[in-house]
């Protein structure tokens, strides 16, 4: 794309950042929020009308008003608060363990040719195993409690972290490594001053996938282990009593949890690391 068309295609991007677009922040926010809010309201209204008009059973799709009613009831809020914390606890422990060891192993594999050569076939083999299939064995070995949940979450979080770390360190510009060699930088200096700072943004994107996988791991662990508690068990118990409105409410909560950790938490983290390491380059 040449310069002229680039400017013509996206006239708003640079204008916004330079502040030449005079509308204030509230006006811009309204402009961005209006379409999704309108679509959301129209969608909810349409579903509500269709369900009442055609008398669709609440088992098929619950009315949005029923879902709101469930979400506002005290008993649901209490159950969901408790369960959300149980699920997220397992997610966090699993993420810390799995992603932590994953980044370390990725680092080791990137730094040592022989470790990489020996372990890579195993990483590939494990990656192609649908790891969900290990849930029953995990339950057999580790029981039906928190240990099994966070171990399973850790296993799912592990591989994206290994792969992302390996890829990010392999993508460090060759010229910078050559410069480090020319200045006789020690391995430690090269790692701390050159390799890691360039690799951090890539590693953080890998960790975002790890965290999403850890949440999946915690929920699948709860599905498989009957006494594990958490949002997974809450979903199953509402499913058994065919309380579909409550199931939808749990799904909404789960979606908010997913958005909070995958998009908001990691959005902030990524922006932060990118800015920090941009300035250190």
């Amino acid at each position: 794309m040449n310069r002229a068309t680039a400017e013509r295609v996206e006239p708003r991007g640079p204008a916004l950042s330079r502040g030449t677009w005079r509308a204030g922040l509230p006006a811009r926010a309204a402009f961005l929020l209006l379409p999704p809010v309108a679509v959301g309201l129209a969608g909810v209204l349409l579903i509500q009308l269709v369900i009442s008009r055609f008398e669709i059973s609440g088992v098929v799709i619950p009315k949005p008003t029923d879902v709101f009613a469930v979400m506002r009831s005290d008993i649901f809020l209490e159950q969901v608060g408790q369960s959300t914390w149980e699920t997220w606890k397992a997610t966090l422990i699993g993420f810390a363990l799995g992603a932590g060891t994953g980044v370390l192993l990725g680092l080791l594999m990137a730094e040592s040719r022989i470790v990489r050569f020996v372990l890579y076939p195993y990483v590939v083999a494990f990656q192609s195993l649908p790891k969900i299939a290990l849930a029953p064995v995990c339950a057999l070995w580790l029981g039906f409690g928190l240990t099994m949940k966070f171990s399973f979450a850790a296993m799912l979080a592990f591989f994206p972290a290994v792969v992302a770390t390996l890829a990010a360190l392999a993508a460090v510009p060759e010229t910078r490594l050559e410069m480090a060699a020319a200045f006789h930088a020690s391995r430690r200096q090269r790692l701390l001053r050159i390799s890691l700072p360039s690799a951090v943004p890539g590693i953080v994107s890998g960790l975002e996938i790890s965290m999403a996988f850890a949440l999946i791991g915690a929920i699948v662990g709860e599905f498989v282990a009957p006494s594990a508690g958490g949002l997974g068990q809450l979903l199953l118990s509402y499913s058994e009593s065919i309380n579909v409105a409550a199931e939808f409410s749990v799904l909404v909560v789960l979606m908010l949890l997913g958005v909070a950790q995958n998009k908001i938490l990691f959005g902030v983290l990524r922006a932060g690391t990118e800015r920090f390491f941009e300035s250190s380059r």
Binding site: M1, N2, T5, V9, L32, P35, P36, V39, G40, V60, R113, I114, F117, V118, P121, V124, A125, F126, Q127, S128, L129, P130, K131, I132, A133, L134, A135, P136, V137, A139, L140, W141, E174, L177, E178, A181, A212, L215, I216, I219, V220, F223, V224, L231, G232, L235, L236, Y238, S239, V244, E247, F248, V250, L251, L254, M255, G258, V259, N262, K263
Partner: protein, 261 residues
């Protein structure tokens, strides 16, 4: 940094040596360390028991029957996810209003682990294959939607302008410029979705089903028949590798036959 060829060769030889030694040690440990008592809840089956379950005397009838169900669910679900993902991706990519209004919800829905939808699909479609097909469709939709949409957005403006200059109609631009450019992004979405389809089918079966890999995994676990359980897991590794390379081969095959730019 360039490594002298002699040193590189020595390094590769050491790598192969290390790989062989590590694999031998792992296999030996697998044979020696486990107690081999089937029925002991914490046990791992010995290597020879696992190999026996994988050999001709293993329950291949059961394995293959389960695999056929699971792969069928994965394939049909993936087909639904692929068609819906491409159609929605093109729509969202072409219409800015639609993208602004709908995309935030797509992002939010993507943050919801698709596996969590399994209980609802069971209520809707029962314990048979249909509920798993629906789950796989829901799980595989988003990667394809997102990459298709990005593909539409990244269509080279110069080529559209050139086509316009030559008097091409909107339909012609779509068929000749936009759609051919979507093949590569759709394949990268497909690469993720194929893995997801197999995974979602098994996860759905673990939660409630009457046949499939997820079911026999749970049956073997309940009966403490861990040799068969491990045999199935090893088969899953092979199938997973085969599926991933199948997509790569298909991509290569299609891209070779695409008309040049």
């Amino acid at each position: 940094m360039t490594v002298p060829p002699a040193r590189a060769r020595a390094g590769t030889a050491a790598g192969w040596g290390g790989l062989v030694v590590v694999t031998a040690v792992l296999l030996a440990a697998w044979q020696i360390v486990p107690s081999g008592v089937q029925g002991d809840g914490s046990s791992v089956p010995k290597l020879d028991a696992t190999l026996k379950a994988l050999g001709p005397s293993g329950e291949w009838g059961e394995y293959l029957k389960a695999l056929r169900v699971t792969l069928g669910e994965a394939f049909l679900g993936l087909l639904i996810g692929l068609v819906a993902g491409v159609v929605l991706g093109v729509l969202l990519g072409e219409s800015k209003i639609l993208r602004q209004g709908v995309y935030p919800y797509a992002v939010a829905l993507q943050a919801l682990p698709p596996i969590a939808l399994a209980p609802i699909f069971v209520i809707w479609f029962g314990f048979g294959m249909t509920s798993k097909i629906g789950l796989v469709g829901a799980a595989t939709l988003f990667p394809i939607l997102v990459s298709t949409m990005a593909g539409v957005a990244e269509t080279d403006r110069n080529r559209i302008e050139m086509a316009t200059a030559f008097g091409a109609s909107r339909a012609q631009i779509r068929m000749r410029v936009v759609f051919p450019g979507l093949v590569a992004p759709i394949f990268s979405g497909l690469e993720i979705s194929v893995v997801l389809s197999f995974l979602a089918a098994i996860a759905g079966e673990l939660i409630s089903a009457n046949a499939g890999v997820g079911v026999i995994l749970q049956v073997y676990q309940r009966d403490f028949r861990l040799a068969e359980e491990f045999a199935v897991l090893l088969i899953l590794v092979a199938v997973g590798l085969a599926l991933a390379s199948l997509v790569r081969v298909a991509r290569h095959f299609v891209m070779e036959r695409m008309p040049d730019e």
